[in-house]
Symmetry: C2
Subunit: 166 residues, 2 copies
DNA sequence: CTCATTATTGCAATTTAGTCGCAACTCATG
DNA sequence: CATGAGTTGCGACTAAATTGCAATAATGAG
């Protein structure tokens, strides 16, 4: 997701002693400019529009590097569409991802409570947190509304499941 | 993970109108009795010890069913070892999974704050939560200790990364 | 209890996502 | 601008999960 990005990822990569190859520049730029969460295949596709020689392996290797440097976070978005992963530049403030399993919409949410929870985890368990990923699945407001107004006598059991799960 | 299980998953499956096949019985029993988070391949292997004819497709289909019925939850455990998923019977109370990226240890943590956070999400966004998955990656207490006492002059940059990330 | 219906399973091929070894290339430094 | 270690492209490979279809078996009716 695009969020006004003060940090320049490229600089951080260079500062850590990694080479600024043209492939890395391209890939990082795309991730930073994307206003969607991108998956590896999409990233590759977008990158190839700028540099057709870019290889899939490089995409994965670059993502690995950025993950290790904690510059990007990897998301599952509740695996609504297959097993692929999505990536976003690590935001200044952590947020929760809410994935609607009916329409696929992704909402974001951040709150003091989420920050608190992380402090609490660290304090009470002694665990040293590097990354925290909270993903929620369910129905977005619109879909929740739609579902509840659909049938006046809501179905139960197998048939309800089958129709509601699709 | 094994947690004193009042609910009998089999009964819930039957109550929803699904057939109690011998395969489902076997698989559900294994999941309920497991004291580890099991992945699909392990589940298949364990199931085959009881019934050698059980097929991988059935394992995945059963897991899908149990997920849809909200009887089991799917976990990534931060993908510490490959891309496979892990499964646990949905516990009475939600908990966080803490995955140590050094030793692979999985810790669990639950707190009032986590519950609160979920209420807050629902209240403030109107999102209807079906499942919430909070996974944390980092260093468990033992590994955190080990890392900090390792070098008196902590490394920086690329080399530190390379050695610490392995 | 037996039968008929239909959900469920096994099989094996297939898809999807990601990984790896190695030769060739190129970025940063001197 | 030469050097050489870090990085890339290639392509084959592995891991994880899915699918279509014929065969099988659980369930409810009779």
């Amino acid at each position: 997701m695009e969020r006004s990005q003060r940090r320049l990822l490229l600089d951080e990569v260079a500062a850590k002693g990694f080479r600024l190859t043209s492939q890395r520049k391209t890939l990082i730029q795309i991730i930073q400019q994307s206003r969607q969460h991108v998956d590896a295949a999409t990233l590759l596709e977008l990158a190839r529009k700028r540099d057709p020689r870019i290889n899939r392996a490089t995409v994965y290797r670059t993502l690995d590097l950025l993950k290790k440097l904690q510059l990007v976070d990897e998301l599952d978005l509740m695996h609504l569409t297959g097993e692929k992963h999505y990536y976003e530049v690590r935001p200044d403030r952590q947020h929760v991802h809410l994935a609607c399993c009916r329409c696929g919409r992704i909402m974001e949410f951040s709150s003091e409570t989420f920050d608190q929870l992380q402090s609490e985890i660290a304090a009470q368990t002694g665990f040293e947190i590097q990354v925290a990923r909270l993903e929620v699945g369910g129905n977005c407001p619109a879909c929740a509304e739609a579902m509840h107004s659909a049938t006046s006598a809501p179905e139960e059991g197998k048939d309800a499941l089958k129709s509601s799960v699709d």
